[in-house]
């Protein structure tokens, strides 16, 4: 299996004499291309995609010949689309507003109206793209961003197949498709979806966005492990006692009630973000820093993930009740708007997983995620074994805990190393101290938004940060038995503003451990 392009990507076209891998002052700019966004009026497009495009343009990272097409069922002209895009870019963009940059971007924006089952609309879109090869010099290159509910995928993809707009050869350039989670809601539906997308576009041209992988710290995890000599020797069951991966949100479900109530925390977060973080933490060293090698290693780990035998004790799900969070009273999950009163959907999930490899055998990986927890934080914490022998008196080391290495994914991106140190004074007393590396302190070169980075990678054809179809399927393989076990059970309750249900505490207490307070 080889990846789309296993080479150093400098941007632009490879034969360009003015491009030089050593010349790192020049930005990586994609080839001339168009991007078509389906569902341009949706939340994601307005809050993330359109602002990300403006930011990319502002940083000079879009090619000179670039076109942005919006597709939606609205009776709109280009002007309405541009007005919408301008509003959302002004409101959500990260970089300052520059009218000249905007004008140039707006000049290359088109709106194609139509509904997904209308043949005419897709013929029109296909023709527009063909015309743009001349008028906008996009050379047949186009990426399609499906910012639409997964139930619509089949219709849209079939339309693309019918018009042939997904075929690279026919179009004289590359054609890529970008899909967002959820990638199905169980293994069977994921396979169905993957088969469909891969069938229409070819698996090399499918980019699945997991925006966590666009974050700097996540990419830094690979640098930390494989660029240093310090950590890899202790990155195994001989030294690691346990691993905790946490993704906590203080927010509720917002306006996603209908979607969330069908999905739940395990499918929404555990299946993709947390398992991807686990894969990056536990994977073996890739033979090369190229997409195919990294995906191969991730896939191996995901396939080695095992569930505990006693699911009752080690797979806990919870649902928040009303409580106080950050000084405000918040309602319980079942009182949220559009949520059925008898809903058994979980808003919290904690599970103990194993990784059945020589490196990790016997090391528990505790994963948890939840809504309405005290703060918004995502982190990976490796807790190391205690020293086999302590030459100090037991009272000297009472306050010494496990050594820990914590990778903070968000907020305060960075790392913390926790270890014991002598407390100054005439007594021998060892207490935990922490050594902090904060990204913002060492490099403030403003980290791009995850979407900015990922969209740019799609246009550049860099598949490094996108999970492959098989990774998605391997993840569902882990989640499906959990869902099956949980179905018919009522979730445990926790108060909004608590770190999850008490049963989750007991789950770790049973193993003689406690959850870290992130």
């Amino acid at each position: 299996m080889s990846a789309p392009r296993d080479k150093v990507i400098t941007g632009g076209s490879p034969a360009n004499p003015l491009r030089d891998v050593r010349d790192r002052r020049l930005p990586r700019v994609p080839e001339a291309c168009a991007l078509v966004v389906f569902g341009i009026t949706g939340d994601l497009a307005r809050k993330k995609l359109l602002p990300a495009f403006y930011d990319l343009a502002n940083r000079g990272l879009l090619p000179t010949n670039f076109a942005l097409l919006g597709f939606a069922r609205r009776d709109w002209g280009d002007g309405d689309f541009i007005a919408l895009a301008e509003r959302s870019a002004k409101e959500h963009a990260r970089t300052p507003w520059r009218p000249d940059v905007w004008e140039r971007l707006a000049a290359n924006m088109r709106f194609v109206p139509g509904s997904f089952d209308e043949d005419e609309a897709f013929d029109n879109l296909d023709q527009t793209l063909a015309d743009m090869s001349d008028t906008h010099g996009i050379q047949g290159n186009a990426a399609f961003f499906l910012s639409i509910p997964p139930t619509m995928f089949p219709v849209v993809l079939r339309q693309m197949e019918r018009t042939g707009m997904a075929e690279n050869e026919r179009c004289g350039g590359w054609r890529r498709v970008v899909v967002e989670k959820p990638f199905g809601n169980d293994l069977a539906s994921a396979i169905e979806l993957n088969t469909l997308v891969d069938d229409v576009f070819g698996w090399r041209d499918v980019y699945r966005i997991d925006h966590y992988l666009g974050k700097e710290t996540v990419q830094n995890l690979l640098a930390l492990r494989f660029a240093n000599t310090l950590f890899e020797p202790i990155w195994n069951a001989h030294y690691v006692d346990s691993v905790q991966i946490t993704m906590a949100e203080d927010g509720g479900i917002g306006s996603r009630a209908a979607f969330y109530d069908e999905t739940g925390a395990a499918r929404d977060v555990l299946q993709n973000h947390l398992l991807q973080l686990l894969a990056l933490t536990a994977m073996e060293e890739p033979v090369q820093f190229i997409p195919s090698a990294i995906r191969t290693e991730k896939l191996k780990v995901l396939r080695a993930v095992s569930l505990p035998d006693d699911l009752d004790a080690y797979a806990i799900r919870g649902q928040y009740e009303q409580g106080w969070l950050a000084g405000e009273r918040v309602v319980g999950y079942t009182q949220e708007k559009d949520v059925p009163e008898d809903s058994r959907t979980e808003t919290y999930a904690a599970v103990k997983l194993g990784v059945q490899t020589r490196r990790w055998a016997g090391v528990p990986f505790y994963l948890r995620t939840g809504k309405r927890l005290p703060r918004r934080v995502t982190e990976i914490a490796l807790s190391f074994r205690r020293a086999p022998h302590l030459p100090f008196a037991p009272t000297d080391t009472e306050e010494l805990g496990h050594n820990q290495l914590v990778v903070r994914v968000q907020p305060d991106e960075g790392m913390t190393l926790k270890f014991g140190s002598k407390v100054p004074g005439s007594m021998m007393e060892v207490r935990d101290v922490s050594m902090d590396f904060l990204y913002g302190e060492t490099f403030t070169e403003a980290s791009p938004e995850a979407y900015e980075r990922l969209l740019l990678d799609v246009l550049l054809g860099d598949a490094m940060l996108f999970p492959l179809n098989e990774e998605v399927e391997a993840s569902w393989d882990v989640i499906d038995p959990l869902e099956e076990h949980w179905s018919g059970q009522a979730p445990y309750r926790y108060r909004a503003g608590e770190w999850g249900p008490g049963e989750a505490e007991q789950m770790l207490a049973r193993d003689g451990r406690v959850w870290r307070r992130p």
Binding site: S13, N16, P17, L18, G60, T64, N65, G137, Q139, T442
Partner: protein, 327 residues
């Protein structure tokens, strides 16, 4: 902020430690030290640029102002700032008088962040030989600016003669926008370049380096010709002839935009604003390794060969300006 009059290097180190404690912000992740060599008249300008650059790349700033080398009594005045007018990081502004100015490294060395890279930037005419300035010798990266010189062509030749990997010049940084625009115009173009022309200020080191870069990359003769240009800019246009009977032309419309004609796509206008000193310095601090394409362009612009093969570190060569004055 603490100000120390007629002080010593050790006092400055103590003051810095005290300031860090008092500020409560012990920076643990210092990635680099930026040493700025500047004349009293340009201090404000250098400080402004350093503030902008340091906000992008947190660093310890050490400003060295050498004054009155012929003053009879050596003297050091220093100002230690944390989170002040020089941005959120740590900064020390030092004024050195008399013979101390020739031994500035004795004050600066203990102030460098431990084992972090050092970048030295001369905001003023660059030293003829970097090894003569001890502040350039211990730096991993040295940033000069030939635009300060009355005869930049000679300045570039001097830089080429003195070149070691890790040297760069801000006149090279000023070409990045043009180079990115040219590279983008050449994407998806087939054909060999037959030759071309850079139209602009023949006396500008940036125009010369741009010409040198195009020559080195395209392997075709590139001329630099004198042309009227929008004020505040160095290059008015770049034309490249291709063997496919095509001419790629990038022309500066004003201080903010450049038109592109003859590229693979339709004709267009792109934004190419003239950048501030702080932004240029920020770009320099992004990379702390040697910039080989600069070496190539410098070699091509000046006709000096073998720049890529040079290696090693400089050793300080003692040079007393007083001796020359007496001679």
């Amino acid at each position: 902020m603490s100000t120390l009059w007629d002080t010593t290097g050790s006092q400055v180190v103590k003051a810095l430690t005290a300031e860090r404690r008092a500020g409560g912000t012990v920076m643990s992740g210092l990635a680099l030290t930026l040493v700025i060599v500047v004349d009293e008249k340009q201090v404000a300008e250098a400080e402004e640029a350093a503030r902008i650059a340091a906000s992008v790349h947190p660093c310890r700033l050490l400003l060295v102002v050498r004054r009155q080398v012929d003053a009879p009594v050596p003297r050091l005045d220093a100002e230690v700032l944390i989170g002040g007018r020089l941005g959120p990081g740590e900064a020390v502004v030092m004024r050195m008088y008399g013979r101390l100015a020739l031994h500035a490294e004795s004050v600066v060395l203990p102030l460098l962040a431990p084992d972090a890279p050092v970048v030295t930037w001369w905001h003023g005419p660059p030293p003829e030989v970097i090894a003569h300035d001890p502040l350039g010798v211990f730096a991993e990266r040295r940033i000069t600016d030939c635009a300060w010189l009355p005869d930049p062509a000679e300045g570039l030749a001097t830089r080429a003669a003195d070149y070691l990997p890790g040297d760069t010049d801000l006149s090279w940084t000023r070409t990045t926008g043009w180079r990115a625009a040219l590279a983008a115009a050449f994407d998806s173009l087939s054909g060999q370049a037959l030759g071309g022309r850079v139209e602009g200020n023949p006396n500008s080191p940036s125009a010369q380096l741009l010409t040198g870069w195009l020559h080195a990359r395209l392997g075709a003769p590139i001329e630099l010709v004198d042309t009227e240009r929008p004020s505040g800019t160095h290059v008015a246009a770049v034309r490249i002839d291709l063997d496919t009977d095509r001419e790629v032309v990038l022309r500066r419309l004003d201080a903010g935009a450049v038109s592109v004609t003859g590229g693979a796509g339709p004709d267009t206008v792109i934004q190419l604003p003239v950048r501030s000193l702080g932004e240029l310095l920020g770009e320099e601090l992004r990379r702390l390794d040697a910039d080989q394409p600069y070496g190539e362009a410098l070699g091509a612009a000046t006709g000096v060969t073998g720049l890529a093969g040079r290696s090693g570190r400089r050793r300080h060569v003692w040079k007393d300006p007083a001796e020359r004055a007496n001679a």
